[in-house]
């Protein structure tokens, strides 16, 4: 993603976010670069603490505080959001860029009617009468598939089911027809049939309104169904990014392999054991030296603890970037071995490598 096509809606460049805590400086986001095209969906995948949420909150200026330090650029239609004063940023937030969160119950105010909260979201950015805003609120609730919106608009959040609350959150996000919607684990708190409804709703709204979506999730299934492009984050960095088709068909990074091989599938063979990623995610206060993934990587070589890999395009597929120190042909052979059902140690032996004794 080194070349910047003119039509990129959002372009994040070398973003660093760190927080001063009692235990030390947490480097939550450690130099990430990505972009989102108009009308497309970017999926950001990673586990707890990978920095995927902090990166998105920073886009909206929601991590600004005395204890945080932020560097890099976040270009939205060419304007650097990081450099904007709070007042100007507020005009963009909820208007041109909207965000929906994982837990709809704690993101809606329990004391106010759903309608009142929607009306507020509209009137903050639009000079319309309360009556016009209310008509718009009812229209929005209808748009996101809430039955009987005339009546529902006057109910409180606790009267809504989990799925309906998330629909109401989406309605609020859409209130001002944003160009970009950031959805942070929008379906994680929902049951699988409701999740399917919400994902279908997001896809329909994107088609109808032409907005771009950044969907942040730990669920590879959700990414595969929703995203055009995918960025995989680990320990504050993007380790691999590609089109969804290319990422799932030819993943290049051992961490991506680990994620794909550690999820059971509906149709997979029961006899096959899952291949978990050994160990646990690293501390972001004292991240590992060199490649951040090397302590958990079964294929790490001695020098991987010293050299810091850069996110670089593949020769065959310039849209596919990976930050891995293994040689490209070696990676391809390792992945082929894993796909054939071999364990990581067997795959290593088959390509004539030795693992780093840990």
């Amino acid at each position: 993603m080194s070349e910047a096509p003119a039509d990129a809606l959002l372009r994040v460049e070398d973003l660093h976010v760190s927080f001063a805590t009692e235990d030390g400086v947490v480097r939550a986001v450690d130099g990430i670069t990505y972009q989102v095209q108009r009308g497309r969906t970017l999926g950001i995948v990673g586990e707890s603490g990978s920095g995927k949420t902090v990166a998105s909150l920073t886009t909206l200026g929601l991590t600004r505080s005395k204890r945080s330090s932020i560097s890099g650029r976040v270009l939205f239609e060419g304007r650097d959001l990081l450099a904007l004063p709070e007042a100007e940023l507020r005009a963009i937030r909820g208007n041109e860029i909207a965000m929906i969160f994982q837990d709809p119950l704690s993101s809606l105010h329990p004391f106010y009617r759903v309608g009142a909260q929607l009306i507020e979201a509209i009137r903050v950015h639009r000079d319309v009468s309360a009556k016009q805003a209310r008509t718009r609120a009812i229209e929005l609730l209808g748009l996101v598939g809430i039955p009987d919106p005339q009546r529902r608009v006057d109910e409180y959040p606790h009267e809504f089911s989990g799925g309906m609350r998330q629909r109401a959150m989406i309605a609020m996000g859409l209130a001002n027809e944003p160009k970009l919607l950031i959805a942070d684990e929008p379906t994680t708190a929902l049951d699988v049939t409701v999740q399917a409804q919400i994902l279908a709703l997001l896809e329909r709204l994107q088609r109808e309104l032409g907005m771009a979506i950044v969907i942040i999730t730990h669920d590879l299934g959700v990414v595969a169904e929703m995203a055009d492009d995918v960025a995989v984050m680990y320990a504050g960095r993007i380790v691999e990014t590609a089109s969804a088709a290319s990422l799932f068909a030819d993943p290049e990074h051992p961490y991506t392999w680990g994620l794909l091989k550690s999820i059971p599938t509906l149709a997979g063979s029961r006899e096959e054991d899952l291949l978990p990623i050994p160990g646990t995610p690293p501390s972001l206060i004292r991240p590992p030296s060199g490649c951040h993934f090397h302590p958990r990587c079964p294929y790490a070589q001695p020098d991987h603890s010293r050299i810091d890999p850069k996110l670089e395009p593949l020769t065959g597929d310039p849209a596919h970037h990976v930050a891995c120190l293994l040689a490209p042909d070696l990676r391809r052979r390792l992945w082929a071995e894993l796909q054939a059902g071999r364990m990581p140690e067997q795959a290593l032996a088959a390509v004539g490598l030795q693992g780093e004794p840990s």
């Binding site: 586990e47 049939t193 999740q195 595969a224 899952l274």
Partner: protein
């Protein structure tokens, strides 16, 4: 990771599910028999004088067997009664009516010493590895507590040795015996929970959403551990989860619950490959698949939300959301009946195999 095609034996040959009072599993007497189990939680009004104004029918007439050595999965959405069923089996809740027979003995009315003795034989692993461990106790005393309660491994040295062996079995470093729960990660805490559950060598292990609080890479570690332990100790496991892929991976047989009832139960292959109840089909069709290469078929989405268990729909409880519902479904409650695939489904108009493919079940055989 392809899910498509592949020749499968005709559905009629894939018979493996036997349960119910008349059809015992051929491998001898089941370890647990649940019969017509009911749990209603009263809804009360008033502060001093409480009047009952209704009931949440959390579990409403559930029957199934758990054979020795098998892993039975219970799946369903929030509020379907799967966790209540588990708590009733553990006697953490008292049933409103019905029976749970453990090794032939009805345990729903056991008290005192006999109940305590029973608790040695059944243990539970909980969802949240943070709230299910006492933060003020060391790992050694948490895992050793079952020994203390039942007066086993009395000598301090013997108990420590036993606990450290358990820690080793579940992949924890035995040197961490004196550490506190906050010093461990989520996955390690869940291992502590597993070690505690295994301390008394139970005959039955009930795991209630054991991995849903964990990250994917850690989830796989715990699932592999549970599977290894199940194999090496010959444990009988009841595995409760909302994640259908995880249940598929872990379980021999699967029961699907909806609003306090079992709507379909059967062998994993048959249930996932040839679901017969429209709710099973809808659940399976809703699971997102981590493979963008799979052609996106129009999926039949269920509309609306799960109705309130305080006031469930009449007759078949799924009729308000079922694409195949007819008048009969509103008046007559369907019973669990043997299907051509070997599962048992409670449906008047079960899915045909063409319909299963049509609604977009990606695991369809």
């Amino acid at each position: 990771m392809s899910t498509e095609g592949g020749a499968q034996p005709p559905p009629a040959l894939v018979r493996e599910d036997h349960d119910g009072p008349q059809q015992r599993a051929p491998t001898g007497e089941p370890l647990v028999e649940v019969r017509d189990l009911v749990k209603h939680f009263p809804i009360t009004r008033g502060i001093v004088v409480q009047r009952s104004i209704g009931a949440v029918r959390a579990v409403d007439g559930v029957s199934f067997d758990v054979a020795r050595g098998e892993t039975l999965g219970i799946v369903g959405e929030t509020g379907c009664g799967k966790s209540t069923t588990a708590r009733l089996m553990m006697r953490l809740l008292d049933a409103t009516s019905g029976e749970v027979r453990f090794e032939g003995q009805d345990i729903t009315r056991l008290r005192g010493a006999r109940l305590k003795a029973l608790r040695r034989d059944m243990q539970m692993i909980f969802q949240d590895p943070y709230s299910s461990l006492n933060p003020r106790k060391t790992v050694g005393s948490i895992i050793g507590e079952p020994f203390a309660i039942h007066g086993l491994e009395q000598g301090a040295g013997g108990r420590k040795r036993a606990v450290q062996e358990l820690m080793e079995t579940v992949g924890l470093n035995p040197e961490h015996y004196n550490r506190y729960p906050h010093e461990f990660s989520g996955g390690q805490r869940q291992r502590i929970g597993v070690a505690r559950a295994l301390a008394l060598k139970p005959k039955l292990l009930i795991a209630d959403e054991p991995v849903s609080a964990l990250d994917v890479s850690i989830q796989a570690q715990v699932l592999n551990l549970l599977r290894d332990l199940q194999r090496s100790f010959g444990l009988t496991v009841v595995f409760i989860a909302h994640d259908l892929s995880v249940v598929r991976h872990m379980c021999d047989r699967v029961a699907v619950m909806y609003l306090g009832k079992i709507v379909e139960i059967g062998g994993g292959d048959a249930l996932y490959g040839f679901p017969r109840h429209p709710y099973t089909g809808a659940l399976l069709a809703a699971v997102p698949v981590a493979d963008p290469g799979v052609p996106r078929r129009e999926r039949a989405l269920l509309s609306g939300d799960v109705p309130s268990p305080a006031n469930p729909p009449s007759a078949c409880r799924f009729h308000t959301r079922c694409p195949k519902a007819q008048d009969l479904c509103k008046t007559e409650e369907p019973q669990l009946r043997e299907q051509d695939t070997g599962t048992r489904a409670a449906c008047h108009f079960p899915l045909s195999h063409e319909e299963v493919v049509q609604i977009g079940v990606r695991s369809a055989g």
